[in-house]
């Protein structure tokens, strides 16, 4: 596959129509905007190797409540922009003065980005069955640029991982991952996630992870 490390300003193509994510067009030519890996398909995308998480509508994220105002929880979502969770986005109708009964400062929540306006005001929601307060399990943080790799093509990696380590896993697009299961399973899951993050750029990762899990489980029994 055609792929290489590029730096900002590198010429990628003479065909303006092939401009994808992380690129821009000047005088009918496509250039890279980022330092990252260029991916030559129909469209050329540049996948960054670093950078901050910028929220987009529909993203599942894990946040930590950092303040409570009259009708909003202010949530840190590991981004330059804080999330606002309005009281009406809580699954249950609650009054303003009892907000802290449900979500306190320091509470971790699985939430979804409902909307982002042009000034990057981020609205969050909890209105889904799989969203809500985190009561058990652990949360790990990886770089958000590695999240697509953790999920894998069409969710292949994450569904394999869930099955193999026998854990419940919720992947936040902001790089925070919630893992819940038995103590040993959870430990293995966390170590596997760290490994995926470290080797996110290498070839045939899924196979290697399967091998790694087999070996670890063999050692245990």
């Amino acid at each position: 596959m055609d792929r290489k490390v590029v730096v900002p300003g590198d010429l990628l193509s003479e065909d303006a129509k092939r401009s994808g994510e992380g690129t821009f067009v000047k005088d009918g030519r496509v250039y890279s905007l980022l330092y990252g890996l260029a991916n030559y398909r129909d469209k050329i995308n540049v996948i960054p190797l670093a950078g901050k998480y910028i929220p987009a509508p529909g993203d599942n994220v894990i946040g930590v409540v950092k303040d409570i105002t009259f009708s909003n929880w202010i949530v840190d979502i590991n981004s330059p922009y804080d999330g606002l969770l309005h009281i009406s986005e809580f699954p249950k109708r609650i009054e303003s003065d009892e907000m802290s009964k449900y979500l306190r400062i320091g509470s971790s929540i699985m939430t979804r980005v409902k909307d982002v306006d042009p000034t990057k005001k981020v609205e969050l929601t909890l209105n889904d069955r799989k969203l809500g307060l985190i009561k058990t399990g652990q949360v790990v943080e990886i770089s958000h640029t590695r999240v697509p790799r953790l999920i894998g093509k069409g969710g292949s990696m994450i569904s394999m991982l869930k099955k193999e380590v026998n854990c419940n896993i919720f992947v936040g697009q902001n790089g925070r991952i919630w893992v819940n299961g038995g103590a040993e399973d959870m430990d293995l899951a966390l170590r596997t996630i760290t490994l995926i993050e470290k080797e996110a750029h290498t070839n045939g990762l899924t196979d290697r992870i399967v091998d790694f899990l087999e070996k670890e489980k063999g050692a245990r029994s």
Partner: protein, 251 residues
Amino acid sequence: MIAMDETDISFFKDGFRLDGRRADQLRPVKIEVGVLARADGSCYIEMGGNKVIAAVYGPREVHPRHLQEVTRAIVRYRYNMASFSVEERKRPGPDRRSYELSKVSREALEPVILTTYFPRSVIDVFVEVLQADAGTRTAGINAAAVALADAGIPMKSMISSCAAGKVADTIVLDPMKEEDNFGQADLPIAMTPSGEITLMQMDGGLTREEFHQAVEMAMKGARDIYEIQRNALVDKYSQLEAPVEEVKACE
């Protein structure tokens, strides 16, 4: 620039400069990427005797709040010289010179940064000069550009910077301390690899022809530095050449 009687110093010996370079030769450049764990992006550069470290933080929330811009990110650039960076102890803290260099360096980098991607945020660039040997602003800009790329900040292109000077009536590339102190002119520039100049300063005097010659020479130097910057970045992830499956986020 101090006009010293040039009988004291001869800048050339058998056509070579005091450190053995030709007139159009750069000092050795070494660039390391990602040297700081805490920073979002960082770079260490050595250009001859200059040793400079650059750190980039951001985009992040703006403090104090009133500096915030609703439609774009602001860029803050702090050029600072360590007190031990020069022979005679430099009094620590910002001074007239470092304010000016911070401003011109910021303006050299800002045109290529896509600030509109990150409204209401700030991109902080810190440049610390650990050892100075003439041309610290150009070293700082080179390091900052690499650190910005390392931080994953979208830019239209890289920025490379280099100076040319005039000593003993000859145009030279990348003057070192002696040539800068006792030379006749100093002309630092910063530019994109395609040749768009984002910084140009001059002190001393040049004729029109000399000026053109100096700009040409500095631009060539900057292009050479761009290749070194580029290689430093590519090398950091050269083992990364292996494919990453392109995936769309999904549950």
